[in-house]
Symmetry: C2
Amino acid sequence: MANENSTVISLVENASKGDRRSVSRLLTLVERGGISAEEVAEATHKLAGKSHVIGITGAPGAGKSTLTASLAKDLATSEYKPAVLAVDPSSPLTGGAILGDRVRMEEASEAGAFIRSMATRGHAGGLALAVPGMVRVFDAFGFNPIIIETVGVGQVEVDVASAADTVVVVVTSGWGDAVQANKAGLLEIADLFVVNKADRPGASDARRDLELMIDLSQVTGQMSRRPEIVMTTATEGEGFDEFKKAIFEHKEFLFEGEQISVRRSNRWKAEVSSRLDYLLSEVAKKSMEDLEEKEGSSPGLIAREMAKNILKKDEFR
Amino acid sequence: MANENSTVISLVENASKGDRRSVSRLLTLVERGGISAEEVAEATHKLAGKSHVIGITGAPGAGKSTLTASLAKDLATSEYKPAVLAVDPSSPLTGGAILGDRVRMEEASEAGAFIRSMATRGHAGGLALAVPGMVRVFDAFGFNPIIIETVGVGQVEVDVASAADTVVVVVTSGWGDAVQANKAGLLEIADLFVVNKADRPGASDARRDLELMIDLSQVTGQMSRRPEIVMTTATEGEGFDEFKKAIFEHKEFLFEGEQISVRRSNRWKAEVSSRLDYLLSEVAKKSMEDLEEKEGSSPGLIAREMAKNILKKDEFR
């Protein structure tokens, strides 16, 4: 363990000097979890807190990867040093995507962007744990902005996206897409909407649906700033400048007022919560290993018995 | 609470006599969670265990709803008394779907099928908790088979589907769809594949991709029986008979051997595990409420402190 710790320290030292392979190894340690991940978290925590975190989410096939790759490439070829964390089974990095995206990502990478993908499964609830840790590594070593791409279906994925400073929700112009985004819980977390594939029929309907839903949610006071809606045809690059402009306008809005500190405080709390859940779930997993099926016993009763054995008395009522 | 309990007892009595409104109210109690849900679980546990549970999952737009509605309608108009639990934001029941599906579902309902939808969000990890409880209610009051429809993206949704006796994974003929299903963790849980929209170009490619992936996973011994692949054009009813036949063949396979008891034992364990996780997460939530941000404190350290306060000493190392 002392050895592991000294590894982390030297990796952090090298990463601070700009060594990308050390950054990559730190990301891997965080992704794997366990004690080394904790050590990386401790070591990078005090270095981080400067980067703008952009979350890009939406249904599979909406065009998130194309927008992400275009943004990363554009920023990397100007004065920025962006990082991309693709939490998506259909990410161009993991082979399941269209050629154009892969080419864009490669160009972004060649221009200096740091591109990293991670699998959405096999993390056993640890996805919500690994992502903040990996973002912190990017942040600690000067990558800015950090773009998280997630497929916006499933609670964990929505939670991961909602931890960003600027949350972009991508919908296509298909009938009912905006409605589905709403149902998936994406409406409440959006700072910016992109209606992609705006060249297809139905794009203006999608926009109108979104406007209506925003109006409705404004009345109930869910949002602090009306999210902008940008129309794009990402594969053609159409609307890209407006997309980029809207992201930077939102960033300005955040940093002008107190919004940024509110968001970061919420993010800190969300991470504490994920980590606490994880620690408790590990204990639960350990006690599941010893469980034998008791013929005819109701799962609820057995679970309560197990909880009693795990928790301090005053925590269990 | 005594009052609540007597409500549950009388609902169970009425449901046993065939009163559908009582079944519906029991489902609502389970969906809401809490003490009443526990009571329903206790009351229905001993009545359940006879029904065949079919899980139908796949990416949004793959055609799950059409297949589910067609199957429910077909079974309800023959000698079966099926129930459908649609765990899907795009379910025809929740308004986000095509008219044809809604008509089919209504016809199934009129023929005696019990149709119920539930939201995928707002369950705070309780989706994995509510679904087994709702299935148990259907089972206890003679609904058979019970069809669970879930959108196969996100770990919770995959877990929910994988708890069925017969797991159907629906892919479309789009390029790379089979690959994406594999990445989402759907390949390992499939007992039966449906390649839907088989009239579109690429259907035979999708089939070949699946065959290849099944071959690969057979080598590593992940599956106990080679999953069948059925080609359908669900909206036209093409391939429906083969789809239904394959489901019943799998059911026979399960009930002939020991497979069914293995699956049910696994399902029992999975439910104990979900319930234990839930009990612990409630305790975690309670302690999060009192948390104040400590300037500059690392989330990992804070979470460990909190875990120490919650757990018995010997559970925390």
